[in-house]
């Protein structure tokens, strides 16, 4: 029995020794890479400058380049060199040359799609950085990118989506999300929102395209889309307000709508928001809290009245947001007295703090 432990430990130790050797080999390779990489980059630099200068590439040159960048290490040095050339000021020429070798990226795409997920993600990254995605699905690279949005790796999906946002049409973007929805992939909402906001085409068109297919998406994606609309387009107030009024609409979607209405004023929304704040005992506290924030964009007698009522809420965030909005609407006017009359200590404390903070911000 004891001997068996002994042997087991010998085996483990041998494997650990291998790990140590691997560490040493890895360091050696890194050191070697440090020596060899600059010369490789120099070679690529000269090579690419020559290619760009010649503009049209011969069949042999195309083949050689395809072979080189089919390996991920080759693609890496290629990309680094391209970035270097762009940084040195050759942006226009470099970019138009890369566009001219688009067929090479179609060719290597089918090879990269058979590789591991890390390599696929890197391929998508290169496509994104060089804006090699076409506008429509006719382009093979677009089809590759759509395929990559179904991968389990978040990096792979995100790079593929970024590639699509950078050059494709709104229809392709919608298709990508429909694919993820079909595969039941929930890509991070924050990434979806920020990604859509980085879309290079017409954002209003994109929002309209998403709206056309609205019911095909889960509340998870709908929320992210409204957040994108909040950041990028201001013509969806009426439509989103109607969505808000539908009782079956998901809570998170409704919250996103209120946030949209805070940023983009929609006259018809004022009474709805005021009602939410006034009736803070009826709904969950999140609704009046968000509505109280949104009302800063709807200054009127009714709004001020609603916010006063909100100040007496038993919920911290409702009082906090209502006092923020009141101070923003009232500006220099003293609104504290009104609350004092009602003798609500919590409301007074909150408003006093917010006023002090506001004065602090104004003075410094």
């Amino acid at each position: 029995m004891v001997l068996r432990v002994d042997n087991l430990i010998y085996v483990y130790m041998a494997l650990c020794a291998c790990l140590l050797l691997f560490n040493l080999a890895y360091t050696g390779r890194r050191r070697l890479g440090d020596i060899r990489n600059p010369s490789k980059t120099r070679w690529w630099n000269a090579y690419l400058i020559k290619m760009i200068a010649e503009e049209a590439m011969t069949e042999t040159q195309m083949k050689r380049l395809t072979k080189r960048i089919s390996r991920v290490s080759g693609l890496q040095v290629f990309q680094e060199t391209v970035e270097k050339l762009i940084a040195e000021g050759g942006q226009t020429r470099t970019r138009s040359w890369i566009q001219s070798i688009h067929p090479i990226f179609v060719k290597i795409g089918s090879r990269y799609l058979k590789k591991g997920v890390m390599e696929k993600a890197y391929y998508a990254y290169v496509i994104w950085q060089n804006r090699l995605c076409g506008e429509t699905e006719q382009d093979a690279v677009v089809r590759y990118m759509l395929q990559l949005t179904g991968e389990h790796s978040i990096y792979c999906r995100e790079n593929a989506l970024q590639a699509i946002y950078s050059a494709s049409s709104s229809e392709v973007v919608v298709k990508a999300f429909k694919m993820m929805q079909r595969h039941q992939i929930e890509h991070s909402q924050k990434l979806v929102t920020d990604g859509l906001a980085a879309f290079q085409g017409n954002k209003e068109e994109l929002a309209a395209a998403l709206w056309r297919e609205w019911d095909k998406f889960s509340p998870y994606y709908q929320t992210a889309f409204i957040n994108f609309m909040r950041l990028s387009v201001d013509c969806f107030g009426e439509r989103l307000l109607n969505l808000f009024k539908i009782p079956e609409t998901d809570r998170e979607v409704k919250f996103a709508v209120i946030r949209y209405l805070r940023r983009h004023k929609c006259e018809d929304a004022a009474p709805v928001l005021q009602k939410l704040v006034r009736e803070w005992e009826v709904e969950d506290w999140e609704f009046p809290a968000l509505a109280a924030s949104a009302l800063e964009n709807y200054p009127s007698e009714e709004t001020v009245q609603a916010l006063y009522e909100g100040m007496h809420s038993t919920y911290w965030y409702v009082r906090s947001n209502a006092s923020d909005s009141l101070i923003r609407i009232a500006g220099k006017h003293n609104v504290l007295d009104e609350v004092l009359l009602k003798n609500d200590r919590y409301a007074i404390d909150m408003l006093r703090y917010k006023q002090e903070q506001w004065k602090g911000e104004m003075s410094g």
Binding site: V5, L20, S153, K190
Partner: protein
């Protein structure tokens, strides 16, 4: 009599064989796993498999402080240099007797404000609140009645504004990218409710603008030994346990939490000495029992540099506290072992911590006593025993060195040849020297532990090596 001793020793033999096979297999697997994960992450980084975002999630950084006048301003200064768009810093002064608050108020020109504090988690009364803005970042200082570290963190949670918070010790420094890195797991998987970062010993590092400029093994042997120990333990358990959502510890020195879940679970427990471990175990229990799909992650790329005790008495005090904290957390949630709701985490993680962390010093003492008994009864093969000890020690050293060098290489740190040699020599000393002393400390830890509950672990502070 002799027969009884023989039967007893045979039983002990079997027990230790199983114990050692379990321990070496666990260590081996975890170091292998950890090493692989570090290399995969480097490969990911090389191939741009990362999120290229400027803004992640809004984070409140909570800095609990008690008599930290030497380091607190430096700590806040490093926090202000984070490469992150939306965060605030909340310093909670837990009734310091030195000039902790004064240093902050003067340095950052903070002004007093009547800020109402919403006490979603009970904590001691606030005495004053100060605020300031520094480079667009909201700074808040809360001075409160003394109540211990857990109470201080609860106050920080109460006063923080953002949905995620990070707690960081007042003697720690973050790298420029630490917030960005620790927030990534939340962005990658929205079920993440907590994430631990890697705590490294700051005594041998020089940071300029939050970036590592020089790194070497600390000159003081006791600190250098802790560097090796940290590397082994972080790689040996945390990375491995992360693979099955089984981490039971997020170091109090650096961890990110989703505020709402922490509040619902009841916040930090004031009655324990190891409030950091207790919170993580509590979050596991809370989510498992309420059938919430959750992840508690560990990310080795989010680095926090923290001061290690610089002398043996401080180190012994620290380890005593840790052992008591471990005991309290494990006994409080003892029902988790083997229960279906807790899954693989309940079995593997809890059993590991029970057998190889909490009970190990007692088992080791028992082993030594058995050897003495075997000597007395003349039932031991001395050459074999020595060979076995040597092999086992070599195995331990090799694991420590794999962990150390994997970390150095994968995190692109450069050390001198002398530091490499020093690490090899110290790995042996760590095994036979430091570990033995700490074993004795842990054996004694639970004696009279009730006496010093809710007190801060005092240790000698040094100025950070920062520019």
């Amino acid at each position: 009599m002799m027969d009884a001793i023989k039967i007893f020793l045979f039983g002990v033999d079997i027990f230790f064989v199983v114990y050692l096979i379990g321990y070496s297999s666990f260590l081996f697997l975890s170091v292998l796993w950890g090493s692989n994960r570090l290399y995969t992450e480097r490969m990911n980084e090389k191939l741009k498999n990362s999120l290229h975002q400027d803004f992640y999630i809004p984070i409140s950084i909570i800095v609990p402080a008690h008599n930290e006048e030497i380091t607190v301003v430096d700590t806040v200064c490093t926090l202000l240099k984070q490469d992150y768009k939306l965060y605030e810093i909340v310093i909670v002064d837990d009734g310091s007797e030195d000039h902790t608050a004064k240093r902050l108020i003067e340095y950052f020109h903070m002004y007093k404000i009547d800020r109402p504090v919403r006490k979603r988690i009970p904590c001691k009364k606030e005495l004053a609140v100060y605020e300031a803005k520094e480079g667009g970042i909201q700074l808040t200082l809360v001075m409160k009645e003394n109540g211990g570290k857990a109470d201080t963190l609860n106050m920080g949670i109460n006063i923080s504004r953002f949905p995620y918070f990070i707690c960081i010790d007042a003697d720690s420094m973050l790298q420029r990218d630490s917030l960005r890195e620790i927030a990534k797991p939340v962005l990658e998987d929205n079920r993440t409710i907590a994430c631990g970062g890697q705590v490294r010993v700051s005594n041998g590092v020089r940071l300029i603008d939050g970036r590592v400029q020089d790194y070497s093994l600390p000159k003081k042997i006791i600190i250098a030994l802790q560097v090796l120990e940290y590397d082994r333990s972080f790689m040996a358990s945390r990375i491995f346990m992360d693979s099955f959502n089984g981490n039971l510890i997020i170091s109090g020195a650096f961890g990110l939490f989703e505020k709402n879940t922490v509040v619902l679970a009841g916040g930090y427990d004031n009655s324990t000495m190891g409030e950091d471990m207790e919170l993580v175990v509590k979050l596991h229990a809370f989510c498992r029992l309420n059938h919430l799909d959750y992840r508690i992650r560990y990310t080795p790329d989010a680095v926090c540099w923290s001061q290690a005790p610089g002398n043996l008495p401080d180190l012994m005090r620290q380890r005593r506290r840790w052992h008591i904290g471990l005991y309290e957390s494990l006994t409080k949630y003892k029902a988790a072992v083997g229960r279906k709701e807790y899954g693989i985490m309940g079995t593997v993680s809890f059993l590991y911590f029970w057998i190889y962390e909490l009970l190990s010093p007692y088992i080791e003492i028992f082993g030594i006593l058995t050897i003495i008994l075997s000597f007395w009864a003349n039932l031991i093969n001395v050459p074999f025993m020595l060979l076995f000890f040597a092999v086992y020690a070599l195995f331990g050293c090799t694991l420590t060195l794999v962990a150390f060098f994997s970390r150095i290489h994968t995190q692109q740190l450069h050390i001198t040849v002398w530091d490499g040699v020093k690490a090899i020599l110290l790995s042996g000393f760590e095994l036979v020297g430091l570990r033995f002393i700490l074993m004795l400390v842990r054996v004694n830890a639970l004696l009279g532990y009730q006496k010093n509950k809710n007190v801060w672990g005092e240790k000698e502070r040094y100025r950070h090596n920062r520019e």
